[in-house]
């Protein structure tokens, strides 16, 4: 099966570990990711902060490219997904026509939801050789993936389940907690570090109180915030995984994934060894 893939800027830099683990997981699952041709940035929060037209037209450029490819899109970054969906919803309401043909007809999949479709789950089940037994995790969804529900299409936006399902399939014990969709601070740290530290500190506290060994995320910005700021917030280290890293590890134990784990600020290797899921 083939699907067009919109990685987004973060996956080329800060989230290399996410990018590599996605490629690996999809290769194992026999699902071909066709990178959208000459894709450009979705505009993130900057474009809708300063220039509404750009925030609609920038993602539309990528939608048009996917339409030309004739494939549905899967987006791993929740913010990109949100901006693409927003653009798809508003493209018809902007007076100025985009300089190319776009009708917003492709389906935009959020990656965790794409993988929790029943036929994808079945594929995943068939690949699990190294279930991560004994690993206790909480899943953290953040904002952009689930809110606003009329853009994202999540009906369970208060208690989303997609990451929970995937982590459970990987064999981990998924704990319940109340902070699944509480904002981590996004890019606020660039100007107001105090706010970021306080928000991240609270999330780490709550994850620890729930009894988790690690946090599972799907957002590059959440990952880097939670991973990098917990030391500044004075909390004891708690690894933050992308869900694809856990899936890949559950497919096969081995040291091949060391390269991704090296990118983490809080090194998860010792913890994983202790749980005997990583050799």
């Amino acid at each position: 099966m083939k699907i067009s893939y919109y990685p987004g800027c973060s996956l080329e830099g800060m989230a290399v570990d996410y990018a590599r683990s996605i490629q690996d997981v999809f290769r194992q699952m026999d699902c071909e990711l066709m990178e959208i041709e000459d894709w450009s940035c979705c505009g993130a929060s900057a474009s809708h902060s300063l220039d509404e037209a750009m925030s609609v037209l920038l993602p539309a450029r990528n939608l048009a490219a996917a339409e030309r490819m004739g494939l549905d899109i899967v987006a791993p970054c929740p913010n990109c997904f949100n901006r693409l969906r927003h653009s798809q919803e508003t493209i018809g309401k902007v007076v100025e026509k985009p300089p190319w043909k776009v009708n917003g007809s492709v389906k935009i999949h959020e990656m965790t939801r794409f993988l929790t479709q029943e036929f994808m789950l079945e594929k995943i089940r068939g690949l699990i050789r190294n279930p991560l037994e004994g690993l206790k995790v909480v899943c953290y969804y953040g904002c952009q993936m689930v809110r606003p529900p009329w853009i994202t299409g999540f009906t369970d936006y208060e208690n989303p389940q997609t990451l929970d399902i995937l982590a459970r399939e990987a064999g981990a014990e998924v704990l319940d907690w109340s902070y699944k969709t509480t904002c981590c601070g996004a890019s606020i740290g660039i100007g107001r570090r105090d706010i970021l530290v306080s928000l991240v500190g609270r999330l780490i506290d709550k994850a620890q109180q729930a009894g988790a060994d690690a946090i599972v995320v799907s957002c590059p910005l959440c990952q880097s915030n939670l991973d990098m700021m917990q030391k500044a917030a004075g909390r004891s280290p708690m690894p933050v995984f992308y869900f694809t890293e856990l899936l890949r590890l559950a497919f096969e134990a081995g040291s091949w994934s060391k390269e991704w784990f090296r990118a983490h600020v809080v090194d998860p290797v010792d913890m994983l060894r202790k749980k005997e899921v990583f050799r």
Partner: protein, 199 residues
């Protein structure tokens, strides 16, 4: 005030009416429907860092107190996490209103209270127009080279945190030094010139 003498007041909505209608159209949602239940403020993860709380922002809009809003830190501190809009019982798109206010503030000559955050959005768009994609290293470098940001970072000493983060990320192999430039930059520059107007 002396008893019996009535204070001369401008009727509340006289000033705000126009502004409310203007913003309602821009944000594509009702603003007049707000009855100050404070659900937005209670849901907001950063309301305690804001100088004007979200429910007050809506009230200020109703009153037409534009200048106070433009000069507030609130419009820059807002994370667009959409908690407020999601939980508003009257479907007021609070987060969208904040974004519109931020748009207005950026176009006005008002000095933003959160200088670095305002400069960040500007720099992000500039980088985007230059390469089509955004490279974190170049983004942070151009941001920190802006005079107003550099002065602010030296004054508060926060440049040390940036340096520390850069070293950590470099060691972890998470920094990509060379930016990728999109092939069709003409198209992206064309987009940035289009001034959109909502229907």
């Amino acid at each position: 005030m002396e008893p019996g003498k009535s204070e001369e007041r401008i009727p509340l909505l006289e000033r705000g009416e126009e502004y409310v209608h203007h913003l309602e159209e821009e944000a594509g949602s009702s603003i007049s429907a707000c009855y100050q239940c404070e659900r937005c403020t209670n849901a907001c993860p950063v309301s305690h860092f804001m100088d004007i709380k979200p429910h007050h922002v809506i009230r200020y809009v109703q009153l037409g107190w534009q200048e106070k809003l433009m000069a507030s830190s609130t419009i820059w501190v807002c994370l667009s996490c959409e908690m407020c809009s999601t939980y508003c019982p009257n479907q007021v798109a609070v987060a969208q209103v904040m974004i519109r206010l931020r748009n207005e503030a950026a176009k006005s000559g008002v000095r933003p209270q959160e200088k670095v955050l305002a400069a960040f959005h500007r720099t992000f768009l500039n980088e985007l127009k230059r390469f089509g994609r955004v490279n974190e290293v170049w983004l942070m470098a151009s941001l920190n080279l802006r005079p107003e940001v550099a002065v602010e970072k030296i004054r508060t000493g926060s440049w040390k945190y940036d340096l520390d983060a850069a070293v950590t990320l470099w060691r972890r192999g998470r920094l990509k030094l060379l930016p990728h430039r999109c092939r069709d930059m003409k198209e992206i520059r064309e987009i940035s010139r289009i001034k959109g107007e909502q229907k």
